[in-house]
Symmetry: C2
Amino acid sequence: MTMLTIEGVPLNEIAKKVGTPCYIYSRALIENNWKAFEKSHYKICYAVKANSNLGILNLFANKNAGFDIVSQGELERVLAAGGNPKNIVFSGVGKTKEEIKCALQVGIYSFNVESWPELERIQEIAQLMNKKAPVTLRVNPNIDAKTHPYIATGLHHNKFGIELKEITHLKSYSHIDLIGLGCHIGSQIMDLEPFGEAIDCLLNLAKKINSIKILNLGGGLGIQYKDEKPPSIKEYLSFIEQKLKDQPYEIILEPGRSLVGNAGILLTKVEYIKETPYKNFAILDAGMNDLIRPALYDAWHNIIPVTLHTDIKPKLYDLVGPVCETGDFFAHDRELAIKPDDLLAISTVGAYGASMSSNYNSRPSIAEVLVDKDEFYILRERESYQDLFAKEKLNGLYVNG
Amino acid sequence: MTMLTIEGVPLNEIAKKVGTPCYIYSRALIENNWKAFEKSHYKICYAVKANSNLGILNLFANKNAGFDIVSQGELERVLAAGGNPKNIVFSGVGKTKEEIKCALQVGIYSFNVESWPELERIQEIAQLMNKKAPVTLRVNPNIDAKTHPYIATGLHHNKFGIELKEITHLKSYSHIDLIGLGCHIGSQIMDLEPFGEAIDCLLNLAKKINSIKILNLGGGLGIQYKDEKPPSIKEYLSFIEQKLKDQPYEIILEPGRSLVGNAGILLTKVEYIKETPYKNFAILDAGMNDLIRPALYDAWHNIIPVTLHTDIKPKLYDLVGPVCETGDFFAHDRELAIKPDDLLAISTVGAYGASMSSNYNSRPSIAEVLVDKDEFYILRERESYQDLFAKEKLNGLYVNG
């Protein structure tokens, strides 16, 4: 009987102490990914939305990492985790006035500006605050990143970025410091070519604008979930270096998935084995509310039994959760030798796992655990049932009249 | 200038006092739906997962409603909202030992049992607790409800229910009281015919089992989002009464969407109008994390401006949120006369709106409000940024060693 471990810790030991389901991250894997990116001389801003747990952010803060945020909630998280505001870039198409004000107040590195109305708004607020806002214009380069339509972001009909053609006639703003150009063409990208096109596009444009000192190439490097063959971090960086040889610009990268995606698993228990004449189901204690990627993106995740049985015949199973809809599945038709109470590791869920989780079906948020060599920490406590409705009221406060 | 109201309350007044985005429910609409169901002599068990806010549950509890729950979290909610445990039916394919124990302890009306292994587990636990567990077997009738595949639940390849053929040879259990048969073929169903097939199937089977006193027909009645023509609650009930004429069984229904779906809106503000040569975007302050139905089910929701402008030319807009992915949309190509700071009501989101929401992009959960004639209550307070990471730790507690 062999037992699956993360670093030096057997997964069944974590299950015993923390319960299931839970997310488990490997510190070593995250740090390895970080080291690979750090070899470049670029400014690496971790895309917080991939996994925004304070403990994960703290790992990066301790490396003096930059952070790519998309909301005030993420800003507050980075600050609470000890991140340096001067290393923050702020992306997102819908920045509110309060968010802009707060970002100017703490002094972030740069706003990634997604539209002219946003630029006008930043100018107004900066003027009121008597500050100069550092701005990188996000260009929409109309490049097909060949990824899932929900995470392709660099096409004309996407909501992101500013039309290339519109950027040549730049108005000047008294309280805007236009320091950079950027783009982000999507997520989980498998080819280097679209990145190359994006770089060419930014370089052409940057030449025409004197003040540009920074090129922000965004994130988007894909990782392996199944049998994809993404470029390694090293190959990706070499490719960029090649394209940018002898260019005078400071380069920013915004990796998220490629820093944490392969460093996390979702540990879950088989509640029931349900065999029918048509299909066999393994009903797990994790649900679509804990990990929505299969339902939302039709994502494929490898599912690994923690205990290998030699005395059980493998069968084909649909791996499903307890949530009351058919969309609640993790995988179809996987051959596994399993029985009730077995632990399974749903792999490669360090990114867009916990950060997209919900309380659907009134299921408390699950624990998150960090493994560090042969020890493990709880980074986020499991919610209680009472936590679910702590903000709710039977007889609500009258707020009018 | 006309202003949109809910019952007697103008929506802009709620926005001023509560902020946006927020969910707003109409007490009168919920109670109207309840009254329509109540006219039947059936046991109506509200499907809590549709909208599990304590204040909404309390409305139903005050009507002495039954509740259809799918988790211990929902059980705790019903109890906290003053619901009677004796009116609770417990559905779901993945009931844990703890959940079964807790349900037996409080004395629920019936377990909707989804598999033989679940029945065995209930028998074991009931025996240990020296209790008799009331059980309704959920049948998988292999009926096509003709709805979105994620919410079709009555087909052979779905994880729900027990194969019809397997039910004829019933083992007897010392601590199980087999009182009923049930089925639930899906959600948002537009035709009465599949319900008729399900009833026929249950009746045929019930005749063969002496102990059956209850038929649970589940929920699933559709509502109008766009131009669908669902049967009214009255037509649905008449159809069922017709089918069940002179039958001796107690009937349970589990409506969710049809009780609360049309009673809720999502009130949101236009942050930016972004016009491009290819598309116009209205960027709202609500995001896919607040309402995931468009991204997850490709759902259509009517979007109604709170203020009607006569001086603005209508244009086609994509209505999108601030979340950093292309999946973050509410609607495509809607003709609207709008400008920044306008309020919009995303309609028919009383069901599967707030209950499926998440904190993705570190966005705090939004407020929920109940309108009652010309007054309004806060049913759920908006989360703070600090709430987002209240359960997280920088330097997690060591739990081993």
